[in-house]
Amino acid sequence: MIQALLTVALVVVSALAVAKFPRSVLVFLLFQGSLVFVYRAQIPEWLRRSLLAVALLVLMPAIGYFNGYYLEIATQVGIFVALALGLNIVVGLAGLLDLGYVAFFAVGAYSWAIFGSPHANVIFGGGFPLAGWWFYVFLLVGLGTAAITGILLGLPVLRLHGDYLAIVTLGFGEVIRVLANNLDKPINFTNGPKGITPISRPPAPFGLPYGEYFYFLVLLIVVAVVIVNRRLEDSHIGRAWEAIREDELAARAMGVPLVRMKLMAFACGASFAGVMGVLFSAKQVFINPESFTFLESIGVLAMVILGGMGSIPGAVLGATVVTVLNLQVLKGFSLWLNELKNAGVTVLGYSLADLPTQFEPAKYERMVFGVILVLMMIFRPQGIFPARRRQRELAQPGG
């Protein structure tokens, strides 16, 4: 009861605080933290659900009205949550280490980028871009294309395990990126490193601003992805994946069709990335191969590991933490340091204005990130919200 009151109060206060100080990074972090608290607090299920619904459906867009950048952060968090959940199926459930996951995101993004922009005229003659409503069709096209790509990747790597699998998928990710970079000749499919722009956006309903529109669309897809993930996990399909991860040979002998289940894992994981890719290209209006580097794949993998492999809440939280850290905390810290510099503040007799620009925290994104990962692996290798089964595995001495 006290917990329930506390939780409600926390959400309300943090939301009010964001409205009052729309620029403060710390206050927005407080708001995000309150959502995690809602998730963890021991309160009735209906209260938890309504609080989360109010926060995500009402408060967050309202915050976006005061500070559009926060809505942008929330949208990006959502995109990465969906990616992390997709990769979670492949790595966390089926135990197939995939280092080229972002390739499927690229496949989805390029499928809409090409047909949703005048660029397709170069390939097919006239008639493009497709009308905005085709975007919704392409959410499915992106899903299908990515799933097929996932199967194509899956076929040659079926016999590979662990390190070998990781290397091949890494190569696959690079192949897709290099293709995007070089398929501007002889037929210009991807426009090479210059990228494709302008990519059409769908007509937003109710005259919603695009920031809000994409936020709601991402939220909708994330909810769908979470449901799909949970249903897969709690079915014979999820159990078959777990069994493959535990003991492939025994799983085969117990009647698990190995090839089909592995391909299904690759296809399911890839399809989430494909959908988000389509959305990403429309949201960004411009895409080029730089958005789909190896580091992105590693980033998504880090989200899954940080959150706890095989755990759905883990993937959600991992994606949130990493994205917020990159976009908000480190950038915010840099801004703050810059303000201090400009104000001519001195620390222990040292003028901050003399600090070389190399010391800007934003430049240390990857390093801070790496340090956090290392610390996590040492002190909490099972992740923030570990899957029950992972907990059991790590409880066993000698892994």
């Binding site: 799909v228 249903r231 897969l232 079915s235 014979h236 399909i237 159990r239 078959a240 777990e242 069994a243 535990e246 003991d247 040979l249 025994a250 799983a251 085969r252 002998a253 117990m254 009647g255 698990v256 069709p257 190995l258 299904m264 089964r389 059991r392 595995e393 066993q396």
Partner: protein
Amino acid sequence: MSLFEARSVTKRFGGLTALHGVDFALERGIASIIGPNGAGKTTLFNIFTGLYAADDGSVTFRGQPLLGLRPDQITALGICRTFQNIRLFSNMTAIENVLVGMNSRIALGLWDVLSHSRSFRRTESDLAARAIGLLDRVGLQANANAVARNLPYGDRRRLELARALAAEPALLLLDEPTAGMTQGEAGTLMRLLRGLVADLGLAIILIEHNMRVVMEVSDRVTVLDHGEKIAEGSPREVQENVRVIEAYLGTRGAGPRGARRA
């Protein structure tokens, strides 16, 4: 037509001939395969279940050739097994292990799972009930939610049996199911197997080192040595067979159980 028939099965590992033209047939009941260490008993099971490819010979089940089929296809046809060195899904619970064993009997598609269709919900609750029933049958009902790895040794063996039964096999292959059990536990298990044969009409091939168990429970016994079948018949006949006594005593100077690897 026999339920299960293997003809001149041969398997080589490099220069070693692990099986050399082995014939084997089973109609019903319990058939045991015995033989000293390295005789090729487990290899035979691995070929029967599609884990190894045979170099020569044929295997048929209800008239259908098995060689060349995948393990999951063979399981779907109605043959399931346990392993000599228990291979459970150790971080899954007992009931989850059994549920995985039912995989080949589930006719649901991806869409049923995603939409939680009526047939999905009905199937899931049926499966859970059946899994509990199987755990009950092997005496593990109280441990349904225990993590497999944490179960005592004997329970893990019995869980593996329940998992194999979950595939609804017509033929069950058990690789040393009583290894590491006391004589009492082994006796209980054998009564359970006899019950399965009587109730479900199950046929069982048993690899065993425990001679007392073998003599008590088997309808027929096949003896392998160095990859060759050296004797076959009723337990009594085999026991008195000169070649068998030689294989166990003559060349190795120890009884059957003394011949076991330590």
